[in-house]
């Protein structure tokens, strides 16, 4: 297990390096124009462009440019060309919001999907199963910006049951924090609940017919123990992989819509706004940051996966 973990972490570092190089190339080298001009934004004065060129070392060799850029990204020495606000600072401010949204939603969708998927599989072919199938399809078909807007309008604005967007710090008031996040969590989770419960249902139905489940039954175990220890555990393996990937994808971009609809002011919303203003430094930084997040998370998931399925460890 330890060897697997170490090996996986080394791999992760290599991938991170590749990601940083690619990001650098995309932003500074591939566009066929002076990067300093692009970075300075529209209607920048000649002196600003010159200052930027000096600062980022755009007249030096490419490897040197790479080092300078990375240094700036990682030391947080980046400023928006529009707001003059420090980019690192902004990401740091947005991060707890994005993570609150993503972690909460991920836990919610995993938990609900396990319950529904398992229930659906146990009742396979019966009314409850068919009903849940339809519900899942409806859930999968509703886009976040639509269901989010509906929830905001009816549950938040008309009925006033929930706050109409906004965010409260967890450290400030945990109850209010959760209260403000219930709608965003639900809106984001619905799609995944539909999808995950379907995948889990079919995994469970496959697993139930495995010989080792028959063995478990022949041992005299209770139905509950058979389902949890022998069926669910094995059915969860593909789901956990999916979960890690989707969680990474949500933090790394999927949350943009939800954040915007509910005005959570997270990293995703920050990135979206920066893109709208062609503000290069924040876009560069958020891209790097989110890519790193996804890569790191994948490594964590693989390690978790190896824990769940011992066969992986020795490969």
């Amino acid at each position: 297990m330890l060897r697997f973990t170490v090996r996986r972490l080394i791999q992760m570092v290599l991938v991170l390096f590749a990601v940083s190089v690619i990001t650098f190339l995309i932003f500074n080298v591939i566009p066929n124009s002076d990067p300093a001009v692009r970075m300075a934004g529209r209607q920048a004065s000649e002196s600003t462009i010159k200052a930027i060129r000096e600062e980022w070392g755009f007249n030096e060799s490419l490897p040197q440019q790479y080092v300078t850029t990375m240094k700036k990204v990682f030391t947080g020495d980046l400023e928006s060309q529009f707001t003059q606000l420090n980019v690192g600072e902004e990401i740091r401010k947005g991060l707890p919001r994005t993570l609150s949204l993503a972690i909460g939603a991920a836990l919610l969708w995993m938990f609900v999907a396990i319950c529904l998927g398992l229930y659906s599989a146990v009742k396979a072919g019966k009314f409850a199963d068919r009903f849940l199938t339809i519900v899942a399809l409806v859930g999968i078909s509703m886009p976040v910006f639509w269901i989010g807007a509906l929830m905001n309008h009816y549950l938040g604005f008309k009925l006033g049951w929930f706050p109409n967007g906004g965010y409260v710090e967890l450290t400030e008031d945990p109850v209010d924090w959760a209260y403000h996040l219930i709608l965003p969590w639900t809106a984001l989770a619905i799609l995944f609940i539909g999808f995950y419960s379907r995948v889990l249902r079919s995994n469970v139905l496959d697993t139930i017919n495995e010989d080792y489940v028959r063995t478990a039954r022949a041992k005299g175990l209770g139905e509950r123990q058979i389902m949890i220890r022998h069926v669910l555990r094995n059915s969860m393996i593909p789901i956990v992989t999916l979960w890690g990937l989707d969680f990474g994808a949500v933090v790394g971009g999927g949350a943009i819509l939800t954040e915007t609809v509910f005005d959570l002011q997270g990293v995703g919303q920050y990135a979206a706004e920066a893109i709208g203003q062609l503000d290069v430094p924040p876009v560069l930084a958020t891209t790097m940051f989110l890519a790193f997040f996804v890569v790191t998370l994948n490594a964590v998931v693989d390690i978790l996966y190896a824990y769940l399925d011992p066969r992986i460890r020795l490969q």
Binding site: T215, A218, R233
Partner: protein, 350 residues
């Protein structure tokens, strides 16, 4: 057979499954008894209902599509109609089962030791450490080297033969009175087969557990069984002691089975003899004797179902389902195994 009350009495057991092709009568009136410490071999080809019979005894064939009739008494429990809770007390603790394919019968994500400990603790609430010690002993007993280390391994770290040993250890862990082995050596290569069978025989002598050995291999049976039940298309067609079946087989199907054994002590036949034809579809069986369409000796009585009864004088335990008079059977079958039934079949065809 032992003189005492039989441990298990199966009476006219019928199992059918509703499928898309109609009702499949997998088991059609199976009756037998099993005495304490006895080894009963249930022999038949694929689809003869032997595995379904074995699994039904443990309630493992229960499903919304399955219908059961008849009785199976184990000690004081009626197994066929038992509630899930009653069955759970029997499964693993009283009747334990070894399955055909050791590669898939163990859960890949749990350590082998934990899978045995789980059963011990389910039936006897012993502390963890004690259950673990017992598991190590069991693994040693079934012949797993370095059992103390291996107990923490995962199934994929074991070979097929070793996994079947683990399954045997698992089956024996709660000292069951009946061990059902459903083709325990089919998935293993021949040298391992012999080892596993020897181990089962030794363990049966040590523990006194009765064994139901389900197999399609008469060669396996000769080594280990006290009595044999031959199944064909859901019915027991012949039942008797090892000697009765091997030296005085009554049913033409049994002749064919014995005839298809390859033997090293006889001149090699040009081709390995086989029984002509195929077993009937269980959804659409012939009336009367099920073996009728493949049998070269069919005559006017055959469309009636022959009862399973003793037909040989002075051999109360030797039962069969064939209408032919005993003398005629003895005349028609060839005595030498390897040719029984086949020559006559050829003649009949010609």
């Amino acid at each position: 057979m032992n003189d005492a009350q039989p441990l298990l009495t199966v009476d006219d057991l019928k199992v059918s499954f509703a499928t898309e092709e109609g009702v499949v009568q997998a088991v059609d009136g199976v009756t037998f008894e099993l005495g304490a410490g006895e080894v009963l071999a249930v022999v038949g080809e694929s689809g003869s209902g032997k595995s379904v019979t074995a699994m039904t005894l443990m309630g493992l064939t229960r499903s919304p599509n399955a219908r059961f009739e008849g009785n199976a008494h184990y000690k004081d429990t009626e197994l066929i109609g038992a509630s899930e809770d009653e069955l759970r007390r029997v499964r693993g603790a009283e009747i334990a089962m070894i399955f055909q394919d050791p590669m898939t019968s163990l859960n890949p994500v749990h350590r082998v030791g934990d899978q045995i400990i789980e059963q011990i603790q389910e039936h006897e609430g012993v502390p963890d450490q004690q259950a673990r010690e017992r598991t190590v002993e069991l693994l040693e007993r079934v012949g797993i080297p370095r059992a103390r280390e291996r107990v923490d391994n995962y199934p994929f770290e074991f070979s097929g033969g070793m996994r079947q040993r683990v399954m045997i250890a698992l089956a024996l862990s709660c000292n069951p009175s009946i061990l059902i082995a459903d083709e325990p050596t089919t998935a293993l290569d021949v040298t391992i087969q012999a080892q596993i069978l020897h181990r089962i025989r030794e363990l049966r002598e040590e523990t006194g557990a009765a064994v139901i050995l389900v197999t399609h291999d008469l060669g396996v049976v000769a080594d280990i069984a006290d009595r044999i039940a031959v199944m064909y298309a859901g019915r027991i067609v012949e039942q008797g002691t090892l000697d009765q079946i091997f030296y005085d087989p009554q049913h033409p199907y049994t002749w064919g089975l014995i005839g298809s054994i390859t033997r090293v002590d006889r001149p090699r036949p040009e081709r390995l003899p086989a029984i002509a034809g195929l077993p009937p579809s269980l959804a659409n069986r012939p009336e009367g004797c099920h073996f009728r369409p493949r049998c070269p000796h069919e005559f006017s009585e055959c469309p009636k179902v022959p009862p399973l009864e003793a037909r040989v004088d002075g051999q109360a335990g030797h039962l069969d389902r064939c209408w032919l008079p005993v003398d005629e059977k003895r005349a028609k079958r060839e005595v030498r195994p390897g040719e029984i039934g086949l020559e006559t079949k050829k003649e009949a065809a010609a």
